[in-house]
Every structure is written in C-alpha cells, then in structure tokens.
Amino acid sequence: MSGDGALAQRLGELFAETFHIEAPAPDTDLLESGLLDSFQFVELLLALERRFGVRLKIDDIELDDLRTLARIARKVAAPQGA
C-alpha cells in the first residue's frame, strides 16, 4: 500500500508538470473536479509510458480506475493483462 502511495505522489507530480496545475491529492475525484478530460487522458497515457515505461491497455480500463490518482497508481502497479 505504501508503494502505491509513493506512486500516487509521483503521478501527482507528473500530473502537475504535464497539465500546469497543482498536484491533486491522491483521493481527489479527477472526473468530478474536471481535472481529467479526454484530451488530458491521452496526454496522461503518453506521459505514463515515457516516465514509467508502462503501457496501459485501454480495453482493460474502467472509468472508476481513472477516478483518483490513488486508483490510477493501483492500475499502473497491477501486472498488465492480469
């Protein structure tokens, strides 16, 4: 869990750099707050690939996986295709 926490923090930094916003808290609802829209989602996927070397398979992603940084971190940390 602490691993996920650290990852969520690094994701927050990535978010802040990529979108020029303050890093959201790990449990901020990114969809309701409008911090993540389809444009930013694509940028985020690209940034994840560049920075973390992870490639998320879009077919495996549910809307709820994207709701908070903590959940995105969980998705990034999970073995792909599992």
Partner: protein
Amino acid sequence: MSALLHEPVTAQAEMRPEAVAVARGDVRLSYGELEGLSNRLARQLAAAGCGRGERVALYLPKSPLAVAAMLGALKAGAAYVPMDPESPAPRQARVLALADCRVLVAAGPVAPRLREVLAATPPGACPRLAWLDDEHAAPEGPAPAFTLRELGAQPARAPARAGAPSDPALILFTSGSTGLPKGVTLTHANVAHFLGWARAHFGLEAADRVSQHAPLRFDISTFDIYGALWSGAELHLVPPELNLLPHKLAQLMREARLTQWFSVPAVLTLMAKFDVVAPGDFPSLRRVLFAGEVMPTPTLMYWMRRLPHVFFTNLYAPTETTISSSYYDVPRCPAGARAPIPIGRAVPGEELLLLDGELHIAGAGLSPGYWRDPERTAEAFVPRPGRPGERLYRTGDLARVGEDGMLYFLGRADTQVKCRGHRIELGEIEAALNALAALRESAVVAIASSGFEGALLCCAYAPAPAAVVTPQSLRAGLAAVLPGYMLPQRWLRCEALPKNDSGKIDRAALRAAFEGGGEARIEEAA
C-alpha cells in the same frame, strides 16, 4: 401552420405511448412518460409566471429529465437556455444575467456550484429555482419555487398551445471575442426547417436508435433530439464521461444497436486512434454524421474502411445558421490521406455565397441574432446586397469552390478556433489574461495538434516587472473565469513578445515558435 418543436413529439406520444423515447443506461422514458412529465412541467412553469416571451435556464446533467425539461419549457411558450455547470461560476453568472431567465430548472449533484453561480448573479436577474431531484439536495438558500412534488400534483394533459414558430425556442451561449459570451437565438422555425430536410434526407423513422453525443448546449444536439423524437425513434444519451474511454463509446454503440451516430470529428478520431472499431462492427449502424470542425481525412478513411455498410455525411454550419447549412454525403472512401473533405453544397432552403472568399449564408436557418445584443448582431448579420429586406450571416469562414462544384473550408478570417468541437475566440482568452495583473503583455495563438483535439491553445506571456508568474499560476487564474476547454495547454515565457513592423504582436512568429517547440529562438528575437 408550421409546427412548434414539441408538437410532433406529442403526436408520436399519442400514437405510440409505450415506445421508448429517451434512454440513458437503464433510465428510460417512454413517449407517454415524456409527454406527461413535460406537460406537468409546462403547467408548473406557467403557474410560476413563466410563459411566452420568457426564458428557462436548464441546469441538469444530460438525462431523460433534461429532455423533458426542454419540452416543458417550449410547451409553456418559453425558450430554454442550456447552461454549462462545468464552466466557472462568474462566467455562468454573466450568462444568466444576460439571458434573464424567469426560472432555472436544476437537478443532479450541482448544488455547491449552483449556489456560487446564483450568489454571483445580480439579484434582479436571478431566476427562481425549480429543483427536480429527490436524491440530491437543493442548494442552500431560499426554498425552491417548486420541486418534483408540486410537479406531480399537476395534470398530465397537454396545456393550451402557447407561442408561434417565429418565437425563440432556445438560446445557445458561445465564446465572444471581447470576453463576453454571446447568446445565439434559434427559433422554432429555424430548427423545424432543418428537421424537415434532414429527416427526409437521412430517412429517419420509428425503428431508428439515435445517438445523442454532443453536450446539450451544442446546436447539433437539437438534431439528435428533435430528429429522433419527431420520428418516434429512440434517443440514446451518451454519458459525457465515456469520452475518456473510446472503447466504452464503441461498446455503447454496439449494445444499444445504434442506427445513427452524430458527433464532432474529434470523437471519431479518438476512437480511431485507439482502434476500437472492428471491421464490420456495429451491424445495426446506418449513418455516421459529423460536424463542428474539420474532419481529418485519415480518420474518415479509418471509419469507412471498417464500416462499408454505413453512410457518412459531413454537415457544416455555424450555430447562427442552425445545425447545418451545407452537407456532403461522402460517396466513397477518400483516395488519400491528404484529400480534403468538402463541406459540400447548400441544404435546400439555404444559400451559401462566397463574397471575397468569405462564406456568407442566407436562408431559413438564419438566427434572428444574438440575444439582446443589437451591436454584435448588426456586425454579423448584414443586409444582402441587391435584396432589400434579406439578411446574410457573415460566417468568418474562408472557403473555395472545388472543380467538383463542392465547397471546401479553408480557414478563418479571424482568430476563432475549434477545439474538440468547442468554438473558441482567442480574444476571449486574451481578455481574461489581460485582467490578470501579473502580466505586462500576452497573446494566445492556436496551432494544429498532432493529437485528436483539433487546435492546440498556446499562450506566450511577459511578466510584469517583479511579478512572480508561472504557467501554473496563470492557468489557475484563467481557470477561475474560463471553462476548461479554453485553457491554454502550452506556455512560453518571454521578456517581451515579438513585434512586427507595425508594432503589433507577431502572431506568426509565435505560432512558428510553438510549432518548433523553439522557445530559445523567441527569447532571442525579443
């Protein structure tokens, strides 16, 4: 007598009350239910003093209830104004003040934002609140003028006819270059004219299952809604959050067995980029329509190769001329990725004229003008040369006629850009930047993006002496007054902005700098 927009819907409800009219996921309203609910709302609005000559603001998530609220407002004789709850409160308050609505119909998890908006609206322009939601709490403050309970006490019978085809039916607010949004007024007759042609051209019928993808404040949504409901078809509302997940959009198209899909090209490009369409996918689908911005040819090729059974049509019109003034039925898959997609030829009843290369539009779709804004109306809606009493709308779009006789869009005569179908005046962003004290000068330019979103907004700025300015602080400042889709995505700090010989900001140089990612070059030039 020409129909009011809600009347053919009533006729469908009388013929097939049990048929599904509007669906969002598992939430469905039959034609009979839609009719009853909108009749009750119309009666309650009338009781609240809202009738012909008035306006109703709509503050609801995209839902069957929102569609019923539109019909209810029209049946009361009023025009509706779809609000954008995601845009910042001060901007929404300006829209509310300008629209001068008698009632605001609201539902959903909107209470905190709505409270801010109402607090920022001048008391004289503050509408009475209709709160149509039992699950979410109304905003704190004065009790709503009515709720679902009062609505339930009204008879479900249709109220007496109120209004005429030339009455405003809806007012759609769009970006204004001076920083103030402007409201495009569309009448019943404007929309009915387009529907008359489009329903026949596309062969809409009761067996259709029609997508409703665009936000309710986009004029193209009126074709989805009334095109389907006039035909007795099923209208399937697409939840906006699905735009994040293109495979979910495809899944909805598949599972709802949609026969018609209509969206901005950005969405079709997003789905193509993630390759979520299989060869021969969506066997029920018959038509894909797109409008609102230039369709990238590779996107169209992707779709047409995978779906040879589907009919593709490009529609073109500014909101001011109602949904679409021209159309292009794509005859075959484009031969190459560089072949431009024409905007086609005029819809019957409309005329497209090229005057000095700029497209002007005349005809039955022409809006009466901008809501309570004679000055901007006179600038954009001009007398037609040689035809006294007729008007032309100056689109600001540059075009040419091709050898095939079709019209081709070339670009803009001004600094309006399209970004994911949103119409954005760069001047409105610059006006908001100028209001931030920390900047000496600034400019916003748009460049083509490599992604799906159309234009990429880029801001160059020079801080005021001793001011501490970061892209982050500027973005936060702008986010307080502009909606998310108007916030620049690229930033460039300069000591001074580059100027041309006449001393004006050299926008071409700025665009080149952003396109090349060459920040250093600009610093030298400055």
